[in-house]
């Protein structure tokens, strides 16, 4: 489970450059599906990695599913050496993604995301069409049902315009 509001506030409050992708982005577009984690695509610059590290430091980030007690140090070096992190935090499960299948990195998708005002802050959310594209590209069986809903959503949105 994820406290979306807190997660977004922590990242936005830390001036982290990120784009909301995945199930929460789908939900923001109007999906009715339940999701239990927050997926964000973060910018892999030295400055932004430093901001991510500082922003999450007080929220006990740890590798999800890993046994307790591993020598996992949440610092810039760890984030630099890795790319995609599935984390547990005090506010819930956070997928911190440096790159996504079918979409690439932050810079490639920034122009295809839109700033959204929510909970009194502004966060970038991946647009619906690219969201469908990356879910299709992921090619996971569980995503096909989600893609069907997103494509139906796109049709409904167009119809209502």
């Amino acid at each position: 489970m994820i406290d979306i509001e807190t997660g977004l506030r922590v990242l936005a409050g830390g001036q982290v450059e990120f784009i909301v992708v995945g199930g929460v982005a789908a939900r923001a577009h109007g999906s009715a599906r339940l999701t239990n984690d927050l997926d964000v695509l973060y910018r892999r610059t030295v400055e932004n990695i430093a901001r991510v590290v500082v922003a999450l430091a007080g929220h006990s980030p740890y590798l999800r599913g890993a046994p307790p007690g591993l020598p996992f140090h949440w610092d810039a070096d760890t984030v630099r050496k890795g790319l995609n992190f599935t984390l547990t935090t005090t506010f819930g499960d956070l997928d911190l993604l440096g790159e996504i299948t079918g979409g690439g990195r932050y810079e490639a998708l920034q122009a295809d995301s839109t700033p959204v005002a929510v909970f009194g802050i502004e966060v970038r959310c991946l647009n619906l069409e690219p969201l469908i594209h990356v879910k299709r590209a992921a090619g996971r069986p569980k995503d096909l049902e989600a893609v069907a809903e997103l494509e139906a959503l796109l049709e409904e949105r167009d119809r209502s315009c």
Partner: protein, 80 residues
């Protein structure tokens, strides 16, 4: 000669000097599995969601998560 297709509804992402086709122009290539799933999508729910703003949609998700979590806890208490 056939007319050149208009620019895609979805602009191509520019990466430096390279014009990269991101492939998310509509319409998406029909996929029989996706089309089959689409028949079961509850569109009334989607239409209702489209009437809400983003914050309402996310708050609704958080309520649903809390409900699902409570339901899981109850199931664990009851069935072990």
């Amino acid at each position: 000669m056939a007319a050149i297709s208009p620019p895609p509804v979805w602009r191509r992402a520019r990466l430096g000097a390279m014009d990269v086709d991101r492939g998310w122009q509509r319409p998406f290539e029909p996929d029989p599995v996706i089309e089959a799933y689409k028949k079961d999508v509850d569109r009334t729910l989607l239409r209702e969601n489209l009437k809400r703003d983003v914050e309402e949609r996310l708050r609704d998700l958080m309520r649903l998560q809390r409900f699902a979590e409570e339901w899981r806890r109850a199931a664990r208490r009851t069935f072990g």
